[in-house]
Amino acid sequence: MARVKGRLDRFKALLEEFYVSPYRGALARARREEDDLFMLFVFAELMGVPNPAAYYTLELQPLLLERFHEWHQRQGMAHSPLDGFRCC
């Protein structure tokens, strides 16, 4: 029984590798590009580049409001700690 299970596990691992390996590079590159963009947003202002994301995130406010409210309550803050985020 253990031998059958071992074989099945090896087969699953082989199948997994068969699925993943041809596109590992393409997916990793796409992820790396997203990460690079993220880093740029995080460090843009430190490098003297105006951060467009800061402005555009205003548009996200209505979408984030509810999640933000739940989050700050979970963190032990009864009211919104941010002036710009008046959820409650």
């Binding site: 199948l15 590798e17 068969f18 390996s21 041809p22 590079g25 997916l27 590159r29």
Partner: protein, 561 residues
């Protein structure tokens, strides 16, 4: 002739080729070294460069190279009789394809996993590299056009395959989401997806789909081709994890299931080959067997496309240099096995010689249709399912292979157009949508120009596709040969196949010039594509001889000093 005997003889010969000839090539010619540090280790980045299990790599090489082409090519080429096609597939796999694929992996591994295109620039000349890129562009354009026409024909021929074939796209997307987004372990999506794929065939039979002629003022073939290219364009723009990756995977599974099913059925049903060994009653449209046989069957005997696969991804993941033999040679042997069973289906799956002759009343007929019709008969009598069900099953399988190649082909062409945009600084071409639009338009024009839309030109474009494919194989063999001269090793094992295949390609292109002129006159678009191929073939030969002589002289001068 008994089909099971033929299958056993063919498979045994291919196996002997792997067992003995590839061993000889590995030890004496490429001289593989188990201690050589492969790029997967030396340049390891865990993204592109990563040592990978050789069985997985073999599976990839095999499933990437074996698709619709080794089905369609032999399906057309048996018009000259089963014997020439059989001999070319078996001998081609043993002495041409194996050495070529294996060599492409080896050459790339020995050169920091560079692609054959880059190697052509380094080893031969920058001019040869440009030539290589042009041949690749032609090849991709033809691959997409030819498979667009083939799928359109298959949908018209077997309307019950329409729903199952498109369901496969939905199944692939669901598998992609389950695995990538929801992290479901792979086994269950694989099993359930495969079962759904086969179960939907019943639905396809209950609800066959036929487009009505004249919608939008277009014949049915043209409508399908338009739909297919629209789909391929959209598919090539989607993230790879959503469609391309799961589709490739499903295809791989289908290939193993299909091969098992077909060979199992041949061995159980043991049908008799009704086609003649050498066809004495060739239709007037049939071109001379030499050189056309050697371009009609490209994939399945030798195909330049394999070099792109071997040197593109395989070489970056090879754990040990000695694995190149298993991955490259045995990978191409798998494709030879598929071509072999396609020959058997297209020659033994008919009730009588007269039936077979009806199918092969004209050159370019047969192809996928003969594989489906003949294969269905063999599978039905071997496995005990209905002939109609088997026909739908085989059509879906072949359509899936061709469809995936189209998706990937359009995507690759988009990259080429975007690269041109960067090189020549044209921002519009760098845009993904513009580049995809251009790629799709070029292929559509070719498919329509070839007469595929009306169904009249049909597979006239097929030998042109094979010719371009063989030119690419010639270029890859040239790179390997020049490398061998530089290393002072015997070159005849790669040089003879190179000369043979390039001469055959040039000869075929010249023969087709006359055929195409007869078909469509001086303004026929395919005629001008053929003219370009003739020029390319001549340039390849000139480049090859100049590079070869240069290295020979350098080697002689080195020896004298």
């Amino acid at each position: 002739m008994n089909a099971a005997v033929l299958a056993v003889i063919g498979l045994t010969m291919i196996f002997l080729g792997y067992r003995f000839y590839s061993k000889f090539i590995a030890e004496k010619i490429y001289q593989l070294d188990p201690d050589f540090v492969t790029p997967a280790h030396a340049q390891r980045d865990d993204i592109d460069y990563l040592p990978t299990n050789r069985v997985v790599l073999w599976g990839h090489h095999f499933t990437a190279v074996a698709g619709a082409a080794p089905i369609i090519g032999p399906g057309i080429a048996v018009i000259w009789g089963w014997l020439p096609a059989f001999l070319w597939v078996v001998i081609g796999t043993m002495f041409f394809a194996g050495v070529h694929d294996f060599g492409a992996v080896w050459a790339s591994v020995r050169n920091k996993a560079k692609s054959v295109g880059s190697l052509t620039g380094d080893v031969v000349s920058p001019r040869a590299r440009t030539l290589f890129m042009v041949v690749v562009f032609f090849l991709l354009m033809m691959v997409n056009a030819v498979f667009g026409v083939a799928i359109s024909d298959a949908f018209q021929e077997t309307p019950s395959s329409v729903i199952p074939a498109w369901t496969a796209v939905i199944v692939a997307v669901i598998i992609g989401v389950l695995i990538y987004r929801m992290h479901v372990p792979i086994l269950w999506p694989t099993v359930v997806g495969t079962v759904i794929l086969y179960a939907v065939i019943y639905l396809g039979e209950a609800v066959p789909i036929s487009l009505s002629a004249g919608s939008f003022g277009l014949p049915v073939g043209a409508q399908w081709i338009l739909i297919l290219f629209l789909y391929a364009g959209i598919a090539s723009l989607l993230p790879v994890w959503l469609l391309l990756q799961p589709r490739d995977y499903i295809n791989g599974i289908q290939l193993f299931v299909g091969l098992g099913l077909l060979y199992g059925a041949v061995l159980i049903a043991n049908p008799t080959i009704v086609a003649p060994a050498i066809n004495p009653d060739l239709p007037a449209s049939a071109p001379p067997i030499f050189p056309l046989l050697f371009v009609t069957i490209a994939c399945g005997a030798i195909s330049g496309f394999h070099g792109l696969v071997g040197s593109g991804t395989t070489s970056k993941q090879l754990n040990k240099e000695t694995d190149a033999r298993f991955v490259g040679y045995l990978g191409s042997s798998g494709e030879g096995a598929l071509a072999l069973v396609a020959i058997i289906a297209a020659t033994a799956g008919f009730a009588s010689l007269a039936d077979w002759q009806v199918m092969y009343s004209e050159f370019g007929n047969g192809g996928m249709a003969a594989f489906v019709q003949g294969g269905a008969r063999v599978v039905a009598s071997g496995v005990g399912i209905s002939e109609q069900f088997a026909a739908t099953l085989l059509t879906v399988m072949a359509v899936l292979f061709a469809g995936t190649t189209m998706d990937a082909g359009v995507r690759l062409q988009r990259y080429i157009v975007q690269e041109w945009g960067t090189i020549y600084d044209i921002p519009a071409l760098q845009n993904g949508y513009v580049a995809t639009g251009m790629a799709v338009t070029a292929c559509l024009l070719l498919a329509f120009g070839a007469g595929g839309a009306s169904g009249e030109g049909g597979m006239l474009i097929w030998p042109l596709f094979g010719t371009t494919n063989q030119l690419l194989a010639g270029l890859t063999l040239m790179v390997i040969s020049v490398m061998l001269v530089k290393l002072g090793r015997p070159v005849r094992y790669t040089l003879i196949p190179m000369v043979f295949i390039t001469v055959a390609a040039l000869g075929a292109a010249l023969v087709q010039l006359m055929t195409l002129y007869r078909e469509g006159g001086i303004l026929y678009p395919l005629l001008w594509i053929d003219v370009a191929i003739v020029l390319l073939a001549i340039l390849v030969m000139l480049e090859a001889s100049s590079a070869f002589l240069r290295e020979r002289r350098a080697a002689a001068a080195g020896a004298a000093a």
